[in-house]
Symmetry: C2
C-alpha cells in the first residue's frame, strides 16, 4: 500500500507557543488524510528537524513525502537552506520520492484568506 | 473624514523576492479599501520599519491604524518586539488610534486555506 506523508516545514522559534498554528494545521490535515502521516519539522530552534521527520516517515513505511514550507515568503530559508536539507534527505532515503512544494504564502487562496482576515480587523 | 490605515507587519529577509506575497496582499487590500492607505512594514532587514510606516500614515491623514502581523506563529517577535515598537509609535502619535491585531496564522480561515493548499500538493 502506498503511503504518502506530508511534512509541514516551519522556521521554528524560541517560544513554544509559536508552533500552535502549525499543530492546528497538522491536526486539520490528519482529519483529511486518514492514516497517512502528517508531521512538523523545523529549520532551527525547535525539533524535530527535517531529516529526523523524514526518517520517522521512512520508519512509518512512506514511499512518498511532500514537504510544504509554511512560510509566507520565499527567501533564503526556502530557496537555499531547504533544498540543501531535502537533497541530503533524498541521499539518505533513495527509495522515497521526496517532493518539495512552493511556500504556502505564494498561493493565491492563502493570500485571499489573509486579506479577508485583515479586512475583518478594520471592521 | 475618518481615515483608517492598514499596516502589514512582516519579519523581513535579505532576499527581496521574500516580500512578493506581502506586496500582493497589500494590492488585494488596496482593491478592497478604496483610498484608505495600506502599506508594509518590517521588523528587520527590509524597509520601512514600523515607525516609518506609521509616520507615513500620519502624514497621509490617518486617525486610526490597524497593524496586522503577517506571521504564522506568535513568538517573541509578535509577543514582545512588536508591542514595544507599537508603544513607541503611540507615544510619537498620540492622536492616532493604533490597534494591533493577532498574527494572521492564528485565524482559522487562514489555516483552512493553508490546509487546502497542502492537500492540493499531494493530489
Amino acid at each position: 500500500m502506498k503511503r504518502h506523508g506530508i511534512i509541514l516545514f516551519g522556521h521554528g522559534a524560541r517560544d513554544p507557543r509559536w508552533a500552535e498554528p502549525f499543530e492546528r494545521l497538522a491536526a486539520k490535515l490528519r482529519d483529511s488524510r486518514g492514516d497517512q502521516p502528517v508531521s512538523l519539522a523545523f529549520l532551527e530552534l525547535m525539533s524535530p528537524d527535517l531529516p529526523a521527520a523524514v526518517a520517522q516517515h521512512a520508519a512509518d513505511g512512506c514511499d512518498a513525502i511532500t514537504v510544504v514550507p509554511v512560510f509566507f515568503g520565499q527567501g533564503g530559508h526556502v530557496r537555499k537552506d531547504l533544498p540543501e536539507i531535502v537533497e541530503r534527505c533524498r541521499e539518505g532515503h533513495p527509495d522515497i520520492a521526496i517532493h518539495c512544494a512552493t511556500a504556502v504564502g505564494e498561493d493565491d487562496a492563502v493570500l485571499e484568506a489573509v486579506a479577508g482576515y485583515c479586512l475583518r480587523q478594520v471592521g
